[in-house]
């Protein structure tokens, strides 16, 4: 695994005081927080910063990290020393996040919730199985994960292979995270942000009790054609001027396949039409909206130019009549 320079990640000197570290983290968190940031790779940067702050804000972990020495460079191949963690006394139960560090009042640290997704470097130094990561018996907690699906998958239902990591007790009494793969059937009609519960797939109980549940939060990827709003979908439908003016039947793509639809005579650009029940399935199902966009044929050929000239001569049409009244 590669060494991580936590001081470099937060942009502080190795001798930085605790309040300088906190200040640096706050400034970077404001810039890269995935809920508010538009920076590229904000989520990955933010995770790195969280990991660095998790170590440097905790005097015990920071002291242990500092003992590795100042000669390591980010990206260098690294293995924890064999006597790692010896010679330290740990406050609290030794669990990550137990040293009473909370950011906003009433908001528990991610570590306290057991939801970290930190690097192998962090896990090898401070995770389960190390003196920093010992945990006492307790009932299994609910876990939460994010799952991304396409709009078509949300419409039709889908299956996903998920790799779940579970802490398991090793013969020496320490815990290690072990991965196992499950196939999850996601029913049709899942909408943006909707929760999917997998009973008993959360954290296993330690020392008796029921395992927690796993909650997946569904996120639907942006679609090339359709825009999603709740269970409704909107499609911008280009139409020719004569289709808008005279009406006519046009082929319209929907999530369930192409359908024929009648455009009413006298339709205008921007007008919305509805295909009832053609959105995402549900009780009730969503609708599909068509936003009409009148597209003019280019006047590049002599025939097209002649037709436009004829319209100009024969139609008494002033699109700016309202402006001059």
């Amino acid at each position: 695994m590669e060494f991580r320079d936590y001081y470099k990640v937060l942009g502080v000197e190795r001798a930085a005081a605790a309040d300088q570290i906190k200040g640096a983290y706050r400034r970077l968190a404001r810039k890269y927080h995935p809920d508010v940031s538009k920076e590229p790779n904000a989520e990955a940067r933010f995770k790195e910063m969280q990991e660095a702050y998790e170590v440097l804000k905790d005097p015990e972990k920071r002291a242990a990290y500092d003992q590795l020495g100042a000669d390591w460079k980010a990206g260098q191949q690294f293995r924890p020393p064999p006597d790692w963690g010896s010679g330290f006394e740990f406050s609290g139960a030794g669990r990550p996040g137990s040293a009473g560090r909370r950011a906003g009042r009433g908001a528990r640290s991610e570590a306290e919730g057991g939801e970290q997704d930190f690097s192998d470097f962090f896990s090898s130094l401070f995770g389960g199985g190390t003196p920093f990561g010992q945990a006492g018996p307790r009932a299994g907690r609910d876990h939460h994960a994010r799952v991304e699906i396409s709009l078509e998958e949300a419409f039709q239902g889908t299956t996903r292979m998920l790799e779940l990591k579970r802490p398991e007790l090793k013969p020496d009494g320490s815990l290690e995270l072990r991965a196992h793969t499950v196939r999850v059937s996601i029913p049709a009609g899942v909408s943006e942000g909707q929760l999917i519960r997998l009973a008993g797939q959360g954290e296993p109980a330690r020392g008796g009790g029921a395992a927690g549940d796993l909650y997946l939060e569904a996120h639907i990827q942006p679609h090339r054609l359709f825009q999603l709003d709740g269970r409704d979908v909107t499609l911008t439908l280009p139409v020719a001027p004569w289709e808008a003016a005279l009406g006519g039947s046009v082929a319209v793509p929907t999530l369930g396949g192409t359908v024929e639809m009648q455009i009413p005579a006298g339709a205008q650009s921007g007008q919305k039409l509805r295909l009832r029940g053609r959105g995402l399935p549900g009780q009730p199902p969503g609708d599909q909206y068509l936003q009409l966009k009148v597209v003019l044929p280019p006047a590049t050929s002599p025939e097209a130019k002649a037709l436009y000239e004829e319209m100009r001569g024969k139609l008494n049409f002033d699109p700016r009549a309202d402006l001059t009244r």
């Binding site: 706050r26 968190a29 404001r30 927080h33 809920d35 508010v36 933010f46 969280q50 909370r102 950011a103 906003g104 009042r105 009433g106 908001a107 528990r108 640290s109 991610e110 306290e112 919730g113 939801e115 907690r141 609910d142 939460h144 292979m161 196992h180 793969t181 499950v182 196939r183 999850v184 059937s185 996601i186 029913p187 009609g189 899942v190 942000g193 909707q194 929760l195 999917i196 519960r197 997998l198 009973a199 797939q201 909650y215 997946l216 939060e217 825009q227 709003d229 909107t234 911008t236 650009s269 921007g270 549900g282 009780q283 936003q291 966009k293």
Partner: protein
């Protein structure tokens, strides 16, 4: 070759599903007291269940998770998180409407 050790059937939680406030707090890493303060500010609408227990709609979880992250990671207080949440949602709605208008105008 991936070895599948289990096949699981998912239960989708919809608008009619309610979760115990305790469960929601655990999933959002928030204290119950904070969730109730967020409820007072209109962020979520809990209902009383049996014997002094509270329940929250399952649909409230994504909002509460964002609120929890903002409080935890940026050090916001409850009012700040509620305001940030409202502004972020307004921003997302405006971005959605801009995308619709851009499609109509043919920019994208």
């Amino acid at each position: 070759m991936v070895r599948v050790t289990q096949r699981l059937e998912a239960h989708v939680l919809g608008e009619g599903d309610w979760l115990a406030a305790r469960q929601i707090c655990e999933l959002c890493r928030l204290d119950l007291e904070v969730v109730m303060e967020l409820a007072e500010l209109g962020v979520v609408a809990p209902r009383a269940a049996a014997a002094g227990e509270w329940q929250l709609p399952a649909t409230a979880l994504p909002r509460l998770r964002v609120a929890g992250r903002l409080m935890r990671d940026l050090g916001l207080n409850v009012s700040g998180a509620a305001l940030a949440l409202e502004l972020l949602e307004a921003q997302h709605e405006l971005e959605r409407r801009i995308r619709t208008l851009e499609r109509l105008a043919g920019d994208h």
